[in-house]
């Protein structure tokens, strides 16, 4: 008797679920360019992400150009105050200073380039 009641309850529940499923069921929504629109937004975001670093470098360089020139001029003025024999001993300590600086700059540029390609 008990099992009959349980079975009956399950049948009623199933019927109710079937009824609700039939009411909630709707036709699938046609794409009508929706996916294309989402992908366009994603591609735009990818491009912005890709261009952000180079643009930031260019803008930063443009903003920093004038103060850097001023700083370089000031450093040149300070260097003139340093005695010649002191400068000669410094260049002996670091014989290929300009090569090191150029190498570091090239390395930084390569890393930036690789990251952009990777993205």
């Amino acid at each position: 008797m008990t099992s009959k009641i349980i079975n009956m309850a399950e049948i009623i529940k199933d019927a109710e679920d079937r009824f609700l499923e039939s009411v909630f069921r709707t036709d699938s929504v046609a794409d009508n360019g929706f996916s294309r629109m989402v992908m366009r937004r994603i591609r735009r975001r990818l491009w912005i992400k890709r261009l952000a670093m180079p643009i930031a470098v260019v803008v930063g360089a443009a903003v920093a150009f004038k103060p850097l020139v001023g700083l370089a001029a000031m450093l040149a003025g300070i260097l003139q105050l340093v005695p010649d024999d002191m400068l000669a001993s410094a260049s002996q300590a670091l014989p290929h200073l300009s090569t090191y600086i150029l190498g570091a700059m090239l390395l930084a540029a390569c890393m930036l380039g690789l990251r952009t390609i990777e993205e």
Binding site: I12, A15, E16, D17, R18, F19, L20, E21, V23, F24, R25, T26, S28, V29, A30, D31, F34, S35, M37, V38, M39, R41, I42, R43, R45, L46, E119
Partner: protein
């Protein structure tokens, strides 16, 4: 449309930011996500905007998809969160409008269906609160299991079951449906 195919597409996107694979996921699931949001909002245009936002969030957060449940379950969780955020924003907006003494946005603008075209489903959804509506749509329109709904709504499975029970009871009471009438 199998779960493993979805998971393969997700893996392709995560491993190489493959936009084409994500496009495939969007076109596979856009119908269910848009249908879900259309039923929640009652406004087709708003639902489509929210669906776009939800897919954008999904793109940003795809690496957090664990693969434990179905992709559509995870996607509906994002869609539901996007819907709730939008509701909160529009509530705040309405409060600001009230503060400055402007009239509220015309309520009818939110519904794209004319009154004489109200479907059985809309009548049925009207008696449910927001949470009940979301859970019933996930269960009966999207076919999510109680476990998947629990993941999507961050509610315990027991609470999901009692919300469904409560919603069914409301439907029965409001529409005077007897058990034998279902069959």
């Amino acid at each position: 449309m199998t779960r493993s195919e979805d998971h393969q597409l997700v893996a392709r996107v995560v491993s190489g930011q493959d936009a084409h694979a994500f496009g495939e996921l969007v076109s596979r699931h856009q119908s269910q996500v848009r249908n879900f949001l259309r039923k929640l909002t009652g406004d087709f245009a708003l639902a489509d905007d929210l669906a776009q936002d939800a897919f954008m969030h999904a793109w940003d957060k795809l690496q957090t998809f664990s693969g434990r449940g179905s992709f559509i379950g995870w996607m509906l969780k994002i869609a539901y969160t996007t819907f709730l955020q939008s509701r909160r924003r529009s509530k705040r907006y309405a409060e600001i409008l009230q503060d400055v003494g402007q009239s509220m946005v015309d309520e009818s603008r939110h519904h794209s269906m004319p009154a004489d075209e109200v479907t059985d489903l809309e009548k049925l959804l009207a008696v449910l609160d927001e949470e009940e509506r979301a859970i019933m749509v996930m269960s009966y329109a999207c076919g999510l299991s109680h476990r998947e709904i629990s993941d999507a709504t961050s509610m315990p499975v027991g609470s999901v079951k009692s919300v469904i029970f409560r919603a069914k009871d409301k439907i029965r009471t409001n529409f005077d449906i007897k058990d034998h009438q279902y069959g």
